[in-house]
């Protein structure tokens, strides 16, 4: 896939080379290849189209300086635009309340429980606050046990209670945190489909019961075209405050990140890249932009051209 993209871009850039100004005609095939690269990277096809239209607008008539080729100029335009879209400002957690409640939500298997553990670890190690983990997934076999094991590994207490609905567990946990002086309460919820009405109601009820300061939507970086629909459905229901991208240690281009950011306009707050507790990173828009575009190869191509 990367090979053929490189080849296609090479010929597209050749067409731009040696021309002093970017015009409707000489930019067309480059934009088409960039759009294709975005869709190959799992960016939603409509967003890929809108994105390249935006780039085109900026590019048209742009004067090419002596020093750079039109190809280089195009790459810079694309990269800047994508970086800007991914979110300029560094997003941090809001932890003002006492205690601060963080609700962790998302599809099945996206990495919520693992992330909850990592976040607790991060909050204690880096922010020097005391976290309490809450096992509010009462459905998945051994979900509570899973969180307990993680809690033990990082030595963070885990609140759980057999036989109670998830909403009650969350409510009790917050009370417990108040009584015992925990500063941050992290609620791990069950994975759910956005079209599962009963389950979406449950998480909306949890939100209403504990009034979380942060609601983090956990998305698998490998997600395809459906990322937009799912993120939108979760956001419509919960108005989440941030996004977490998981499994970034894989080799996916991660176009879902752009789709989600573009549609929801909420910051990507963390990037999860591994199964161990310390594999949590803050989000770098520029890195993500390069990754989605496979910029490594594009930049080297322009240098060749």
């Amino acid at each position: 896939m990367f090979e053929s993209l490189s080849e296609r871009l090479e010929s597209a850039f050749k067409q731009l080379k040696g021309q002093g100004r970017i015009t409707e005609i000489n930019v067309a095939s480059t934009l088409k290849e960039i759009r294709r690269a975005l869709v190959d990277a799992d960016v939603h096809y409509k967003i890929a189209k809108e994105f390249t239209d935006r780039v085109k607008e900026k590019a048209l008539g742009a004067k090419v300086l002596q020093a750079v080729s039109p190809g280089q100029l195009m790459v810079k335009l694309v990269q800047d635009e994508l970086t800007a879209l991914m979110g300029g400002e560094a997003a941090s957690l809001s932890l003002e309340q006492k205690p601060s409640v963080i609700l962790v939500v998302g599809l099945q298997g996206s990495g919520k429980t693992t992330f909850s553990g990592k976040l607790a670890y991060f909050i204690r190690q880096k922010l020097h606050k005391s976290p309490l983990l809450v096992a509010a997934d009462i459905y998945r076999p051994a979900a509570i046990e899973q969180l307990k094991v993680i809690g033990q590994q990082i030595q963070v207490p885990v609140f759980s209670e057999e036989g109670l609905p998830a909403v009650e567990i969350a409510r009790k946990a917050v009370t417990e945190a108040k009584n015992r002086g925990y500063q941050v309460v992290i609620i791990d919820t069950a994975g759910r489909l956005a079209i599962d009405e009963a389950m979406m109601q449950e998480v909306a009820d949890i939100k209403a019961a504990v009034n979380p300061e942060e609601i983090l939507f956990v998305a698998d970086a490998m997600t395809g075209q459906d990322a937009v629909n799912t993120a939108k459905a979760f956001h419509d229901r919960l108005a989440f405050t941030g996004v977490v991208l998981t499994k970034m240690d894989g080799d996916t281009r991660g176009g879902a990140a752009l789709s989600i950011k573009y549609t929801i306009q909420k910051p990507i707050k963390f990037v999860s890249a591994g199964e161990k507790p310390d594999t949590l990173d803050v989000f770098y828009p520029e890195r993500m932009a390069q990754r989605i575009l496979g910029m490594g190869d594009i930049v080297s191509l322009v240098e060749k051209a």
Binding site: A142, I195, K247
Partner: protein
């Protein structure tokens, strides 16, 4: 709640009153395929094949055109040769114990699928044994233990952190000793770009075949139906270390269509065996090509 066949019937309506397919119709088809995660290369392949067939064969109405389209997509899928694929949940007579190894990246639904498979084989009258060779992920053994209880089948396990090859060996040995019909072995989720984890999988496989020549008889790669183009890379890398015999596509009860498996089935010639349609023990179905093709075009009204 889902409105099935929405885009499908839209394609039909869009053609009605015309005699040949035009650019508008092809654009619509292209969008439908791309948004189902079929991927650009495979979408182009489908469009080309369809146009070639359409030039040769007669189609008088939207129904006949849609039939051509369906056949064109189905022609990408490899023919089913595996006996167990022809007769789902029926084991070939001459292989006992029949060993199934289940692999895939993290969180796709391996353990859940094993619970469902165990239930189906048990229902079909077989003696089933599970092997808990994911000794890494927190509470993985506990999770499989619960599934074994739900399915009513025994389980071989060791302590967390034990060598997964040793658990696989134990499972096969125990299946032989206890005259089991089928042993299904769970493995830890691993990303296909992590060499040491992929090597470990190769080792698990070799341990199994050493204990029982010819085994594992099936190696199922589980793919999350909401995964995009990266699934193709997953299939290639897992194929390189474990010689896959089939694919399982999970979470198709959601709004994602799992179209990338068309590309995988086509490029890698691996048959799709089962689809996962929920979290209950009964939510596993043998792959049905026709209904899968139709569901690619389903649009979910609620989202």
């Amino acid at each position: 709640q889902k409105t099935r066949d929405n885009l499908w019937s839209r394609l039909g309506k869009l053609f009605t009153g015309k005699s040949t397919i035009d650019d508008e119709w092809l654009d619509e088809l292209e969008e439908a395929l791309i948004s189902a995660d079929v991927g650009i290369d495979t979408t182009v392949e489908i469009l080309n094949r369809l146009q070639q067939r359409a030039a040769r064969e007669r189609y008088r109405n939207s129904g006949e055109l849609q039939q051509l389209l369906e056949q064109t997509i189905l022609s990408l899928l490899p023919p089913v040769q595996h006996p167990a694929a022809v007769q789902p949940f029926q084991l070939p007579d001459n292989k006992r114990p029949y060993v199934i190894l289940v692999v895939g990246v993290n969180g796709v639904g391996k353990t859940t699928t094993i619970g469902k498979l165990a239930y189906q084989y048990k229902q079909a009258g077989y003696q089933v044994l599970l092997g808990a060779a994911d000794t890494f992920r927190a509470a993985a053994v506990d999770q499989l233990t619960i599934w074994s209880e739900r399915a009513g089948v025994p389980l071989v396990k060791q302590a967390m952190g034990a060598d997964p090859g040793a658990v696989a060996f134990d499972t096969v040995q125990s299946a032989i000793a206890r005259n089991m019909d089928v042993a299904i072995i769970d493995t830890a989720g691993r990303l296909h770009n992590k060499k040491h984890l992929m090597d470990e999988l190769g080792k698990i496989r070799r341990v199994i075949s050493k204990k029982l020549p010819g085994a594992p008889h099936e190696v199922l790669l589980v793919l999350d139906g909401s995964t995009g183009q990266n699934a193709l890379e997953q299939a290639k890398q897992f194929m390189a270390v474990t010689e896959l015999t089939g694919l399982v596509v999970t979470k198709l009860d959601g709004t994602a269509k799992g179209g990338v498996v068309l590309a995988i089935a086509h490029q890698c010639q691996i048959p799709i065996r089962y689809i996962g349609l929920g979290e209950k023990i009964t939510d596993l179905q043998p792959f049905d090509p026709e209904s899968f093709v139709h569901s690619l075009f389903a649009r979910d009204a609620s989202v």
